[in-house]
């Protein structure tokens, strides 16, 4: 049986319209052989979690540059918990100050990638840290 491809949801939470990074990541993941679902702009945490469950993804990558990360990223983790889907791993990227990272990790975000990180490094992290869900 062929190995199941890793399924990743790339999401843009909140009102932030800067999607260059999200789209580059989505495309790089696809080139890496992952299956990618991109939500498009202006998604609430509720919409992102519903899409992730419906699409049966293995992990969620959230891109955010608006400064609302401390509110919106933990909310996604909380909703996954409530829907008994906390095994879907969540990671984030964008303009996120170092100081905020410990709090985000405590809230359940597995990793935060700040500007300048290569798409290869992020893909490598996913391969190492995201086991396909069963």
């Amino acid at each position: 049986m062929a190995e199941r491809k890793l399924r990743i949801l790339v999401g843009k939470p909140g009102l932030d319209g800067h999607d260059r990074g999200a789209k580059i990541i989505a495309r790089a993941f696809r080139d890496e052989g992952f299956e990618v679902i991109y939500t498009g702009l202006h998604q609430t945490p509720e919409q992102i979690v519903a899409a992730a469950i419906q699409e049966d993804v293995d992990c969620i990558g959230l891109s955010i540059l608006s400064g609302a990360h401390n509110t919106l990223l933990p909310r996604v983790c909380q909703l996954l918990q409530e829907k008994s889907a906390a095994d879907i791993k969540v990671f984030g990227g964008g303009v996120i100050p170092e100081d905020d990272i410990p709090g985000l990790k405590a809230a359940g975000i597995c990793e935060i990638f700040t500007p300048g990180t290569s798409t290869e490094a992020i893909a490598a992290w996913v391969r190492e840290n995201v086991p396909p869900r069963v």
Partner: protein, 551 residues
């Protein structure tokens, strides 16, 4: 006529007339070695096609600049933009800036305000006051401009899908100060096409958005004549990853779409075209950027004259604001960003910009600190007052490289514009995802270039250091959101609900029909109907836009 003769004629007529009105900064401009810096250097030999391709500053096709004396008369406007938190906090910052001698304001709005949501809307959670000031109703706008004489300052507002509402609030505040709409001046960005293509703060579908925009053009022509009704923006197209050629091509194609729409709405081209302004990015490749600005001016002049038959020279002049490229700033070794911004700012000045915002070194990390903003402003001042590049107009003209690159950018951009015309114009091409796909391909190639080390980013993929010291960053307090919600609730308790309902109903009727929307928005705003309530009326009738996702 030889170039030397033409130049003498230009100096004696156009320049002399201009200087009589506004003298140059100095009687003579000289280098440290006492060599005279001429106003405008020209070849002393036969330069084929000089008049058609270059001409003189302030003359068609405006390749060498839109004013006859350019920075020898007055430097570009150093317009740093600011806004954060609540209206009260931003008001204090503006008063400080004005007391420090600034004559124009530039307002950054938070994302809920840009997207037509009140601070208490579910979609606003976490975003209130973050990237700009939160405005829910006229009450906030009154606070924002409290004690600021709107008859004397000019205000630039970075606002697009809700530009009509914010402009009406501004008009209403001015009226309360006793300043009539024909006395106020400023700019609204109001460029929705680039939002669909690159920046993402759109609400309604393109056709309805274009109606709102042409309503603004028509209303302002009659009632707010000193207002710049649109700033057609390539900046965000470049930030989304386009090349320099794509930036020019897609921006000017948007410009064509606005002019077309306004003409279709019954306006005469020379009635509104002089109030169109542009906004470009200044990226790292210095000489390509200079060529880009020169090419953009020449293309627009030709489009306006030849395609639209514009007669007023002001309709043919491409005036533009520039911002240095935020996307080139790195989180690694942030002080390196100061050098990047310097090169980019220099490109904007050598390219003849009318105003400039220089980014701060820490913007890849957070909103800029006060210290960083000052360094960014000082960068402009050093270029203006110390470098000497502002002492002669269009100093790189005649460079084999720059002229050749200007021609090439013009040619490649025109090829894109023709392609967009064939697809049915900018609006149609955007709905097919054409520009988005082109931009994303460029963005992806750029990123791959960095990752393969073909493109060097100093401090990121070369000359890196371990264990950098963390810089100090600006934080926006989370309390802004709760404070904003409380004042919104208090405002709603005081207003006349019946008047609000009636105004919103009237607005709805207008939106269903073909009336100009502006008087109805103004009426609603004055009853303290909120930004979210007004935007919701339009959402109900116009619907909302969903992007064409192309990866």
């Amino acid at each position: 006529m030889s170039i030397t003769d033409s130049k003498q004629k230009w100096n004696e007529t156009v320049v002399a007339k201009n200087i009589a009105k506004a003298p140059e900064r100095m009687a003579e401009f000289r280098t440290t070695s006492d060599t005279e810096m001429e106003r405008c250097f020209t070849p002393e030999f036969n330069y084929p096609g000089y008049d058609e391709q270059l001409g003189f500053p302030g003359q068609y096709p405006y390749t060498r600049g839109v004013q006859p004396t350019m920075y020898r008369g007055r430097f570009w406007t150093m317009r740093q933009y600011a806004g954060f938190g609540t209206a009260k906090e931003s008001n204090e910052r503006y008063k400080y800036l004005l007391s420090a001698g600034q004559t124009g304001l530039s307002v950054a709005f938070d994302l809920p305000t840009q997207m037509g949501y009140d601070s208490d809307a579910a979609m606003s959670m976490g975003e209130v006051g973050k990237v700009g000031v939160a405005i829910d109703s006229l009450a906030d706008m009154e606070m924002l401009f409290d004690g600021i004489p709107l008859g004397q300052v000019s205000t630039s507002m970075t606002i697009n899908s809700t530009a009509a509402i914010l402009l009406c609030m501004y008009i209403a505040v001015a009226e309360k100060q006793g300043v009539s709409a024909d006395k106020i001046s400023g700019t609204i960005q109001n460029d929705i096409l680039k939002e669909y293509m690159a920046r993402g703060t759109y609400i309604y579908p393109p056709k309805e958005s274009m109606r709102i925009i042409t309503d603004i053009f028509a209303y302002c022509k009659d009632f707010v004549p000193k207002w710049n009704t649109i700033s057609i923006s390539g900046y965000h197209i470049r930030e989304a990853g386009s090349s320099a050629v794509q930036e020019v091509a897609f921006t000017l194609a948007d410009g064509i779409a606005y002019v077309d729409a306004a003409i279709k709405a019954g306006l005469n081209v020379d009635e509104f075209a002089p109030r169109l302004a542009f906004f470009f990015n200044a990226h790292n490749n210095l000489l390509e950027e200079v060529a880009k600005f020169r090419a953009a001016r020449r293309i627009w002049a030709r489009i306006m004259k030849e395609r639209f038959g514009a007669k007023d020279p002001k309709s043919q002049m491409l005036r533009f604001h520039t911002q240095t490229a935020g996307c080139t700033l790195t989180a690694q070794q942030p002080d390196n960003n100061i050098m990047r911004v310097t090169i980019q700012a220099l490109a904007a000045v050598l390219g003849g910009t009318q105003s400039l915002h220089t980014n701060s070194r820490d913007e890849a990390l957070a909103l800029p600190t006060e210290d960083s903003v000052r360094i960014a402003l000082r960068t402009q001042q050093v270029i203006a007052y110390e470098s000497g590049v502002a002492d002669s107009i269009d100093p790189l003209a005649g460079s084999f490289l720059v002229e050749s690159m200007t021609d090439q950018i013009e040619k490649a951009a025109m090829a894109y514009i023709e392609k967009i015309d064939k697809l049915g114009g900018a609006v149609e091409a955007i709905s097919q995802g054409f520009q988005q796909k082109e931009i994303q391909d460029s963005a992806y190639a750029y990123q791959k270039g960095i990752e393969s080390n073909d493109l060097v980013i100093v401090g990121v993929n070369k000359f890196t250091i371990k264990d950098e010291a963390a810089p100090e960053l600006l934080k926006i307090k989370e309390e802004v959101e709760s404070a904003q919600k409380i004042s919104l609730t208090a405002m709603k308790a005081k207003r006349d609900e019946a008047a609000v309902k009636a105004a919103l109903a009237q607005l709805e009727t207008a939106a269903r029909g073909t009336d100009n929307l502006m008087p109805h928005i103004l009426n609603a705003v004055k009853t303290y109907a909120t930004l979210g309530e007004i935007a919701n009326v339009f959402r109900g009738i116009f619907g909302i836009h969903r992007e064409t996702v192309v990866l």
